[in-house]
Subunit: 328 residues, 2 copies
């Protein structure tokens, strides 16, 4: 059996602070046409695809902050993406900063959507693992203020049966948390899409800066293998307003192998014919959850948030040589 | 700050069906002395270290089955390991098949213990993720009957404060499950020890046989990184009674990097000066659980065992171009 979904991972190069959405959408449309020409069923763009990655700046003017958010999806500037989807008969996923009124107040989320080949929005996800900080760390030229500008996503991790398979989404820092892939795997995800904006430097903890690309791939590869799913990871890459972003956009097979990877840190499309039926192998054997998971032993994962190390030195269970002395 | 625990990973080559425990213990003692000479504080041996890996055979004679199990720890044959620990002032961990009477009946577990420098047993773990099958698959020359010969571990995943750090254990197939590392990480584990017997061939699902070493390391590296802990993985390696076992014993840093790896598939000691304080970096930043985990979104991990894919095609959330037709 084969169940091919040809996927395009549409890495975007940097976007300037004052680059209008129309210019970004133009770049995205060019890649969408290239994807269709390459036989793609689905094109995946990065997190916060429509603007520069603004959480690097401390801002206090709410109007300035909100200028990076979308109040409707599609709006006038993003409608051409949907029109092109319908025209070409291609699905798409992209991330954007979402401003919405819910529960009687204005709310801000880091969101991604899944759009089918008829340009219908069939899935929506709001980022759950917000990285960085909410306080002003003005000693650093570039901050990471996602915890300031966004609320924690309130839609859970969702997976949708569409376009011939079960599709899941997550965003950027979510990919470092094995819980993300597992909650999607428990919904049978066969293909997980995610975008990221990942700087090569964390100023307040630079110890692992040289390993940023390794960690990016390590998390996606293990998440793919351990849940037997395709993972499509798409970067905003390159030097953007002083932020040096990794590239490394990739398509990971359910084996955990990277089967396609971007070669630049600019706008670049990579494609792969993903056979969703490959995801079945380990779902039915090694990672047959029904047969092999042991949830009775996983309680701490939901019962506690923080680590709780043992306070006391371990007490001996047995002292087979009690009373005997070491020779030394 | 540094908090060095020098660890020896004592890979064992194959052990024959009729090789007596005394011969294996002799090999283990030689490696323990070499470890001490190399400055080790702790030596880690593989899963079911004392005998051949018997779950490859379908057996029906309970006496024959039980001949591979330990009824006491230490017993006469394993006492020399404890005596040498005390003499040398070195800690150790090893796995063995455990036969015990609990709740009024004979029980069988795949167990590992942690022994401190005074030869006291301070930690005990019984394998939770039993791989393989319980039925007789006699069409295959070599089976994998852990689900037949062992009960699921009933002690949970434990971590113990001992020998200068917080130490966790798991066994073989446990390492493929991200829940294992997370439950240990939530107990503050700074060093996780595990042994494995991993064949290069799974006869009923050979599709990923060529990736066995990659998967072995992928799981341990991601588990180490995502929980910011050292991981020490120790193989029973080489051609044992027709089973071709991978080697690849390794010590993984909290960065996810493999910092030491075995070069053979025989008895081989590798050592590394593990600074447990390195585990603190990401525990306090990227993987600061108190700050960054979102357990309210992880419910499925404990609420369901099996995958539950959506039965129905996803319903549109929005149809911005409803009524419009594709050009084609």
């Amino acid at each position: 059996m084969t169940r091919i979904v040809t996927v395009g991972a549409a890495q975007l190069g940097p976007t300037g602070r004052h680059e209008p959405r129309s210019a970004v959408v133009k770049r995205m449309l060019e890649m969408m046409r290239a994807a269709k020409a390459a036989g793609c069923d689905l094109i995946v763009y990065p997190e916060v695809a429509l603007t520069t990655f603004f959480p690097r700046w401390w801002m206090e003017d709410q109007a300035e902050i909100d200028s990076f958010f979308e109040r409707e999806m599609p709006g006038p500037e993003t409608l051409p993406l949907f029109e092109e989807c319908l025209k070409l008969g291609i699905g798409m996923s992209f991330g954007y900063a979402e401003l919405t009124e819910e529960e009687g107040r204005i709310r801000h989320f880091n969101t991604s959507i899944l759009v089918d080949k008829k340009a219908r929005i069939v899935g929506k996800y709001r980022k759950i693992h917000l990285p960085g900080h909410a306080d002003n760390r003005s000693q650093f030229e570039l901050q990471h203020l996602e915890k300031r500008y966004f609320e924690t996503g309130n839609l859970g991790f969702g997976a949708w049966r569409t376009m011939g398979g079960v599709m899941g989404m997550c965003i950027c820092n979510d990919r470092r948390w094995p819980e993300t892939y597992r909650v999607l795997g428990l919904q049978g995800a066969e293909l997980i899409m995610l975008g990221y904006n990942t700087p090569t430097n964390i100023p307040w903890e630079p110890i692992y800066d040289h390993l940023t690309d390794f960690h990016n791939h390590l998390c996606m590869q293990s998440g793919a293998y351990q849940n037997s799913t395709w993972v499509v990871g798409v970067a905003k890459a390159g030097l953007e307003e002083g932020s040096d972003f990794i590239g490394g956009s990739c398509i990971v097979a359910p084996s955990g192998e990277i089967v396609a990877m971007a070669s630049t840190r600019a706008d670049e499309l990579i494609t792969f014919r993903c056979d969703l039926d490959l995801a079945r192998h380990n779902k039915e054997t090694m990672f047959n959850f029904a047969l092999n998971r042991e949830p009775q032993a996983y309680g701490r994962i939901v019962e506690q948030k923080a680590a709780e190390p043992p306070a006391e030195e371990a007490q001996p269970i047995a002292e087979p040589l009690a009373g005997k002395q070491a020779a030394e």
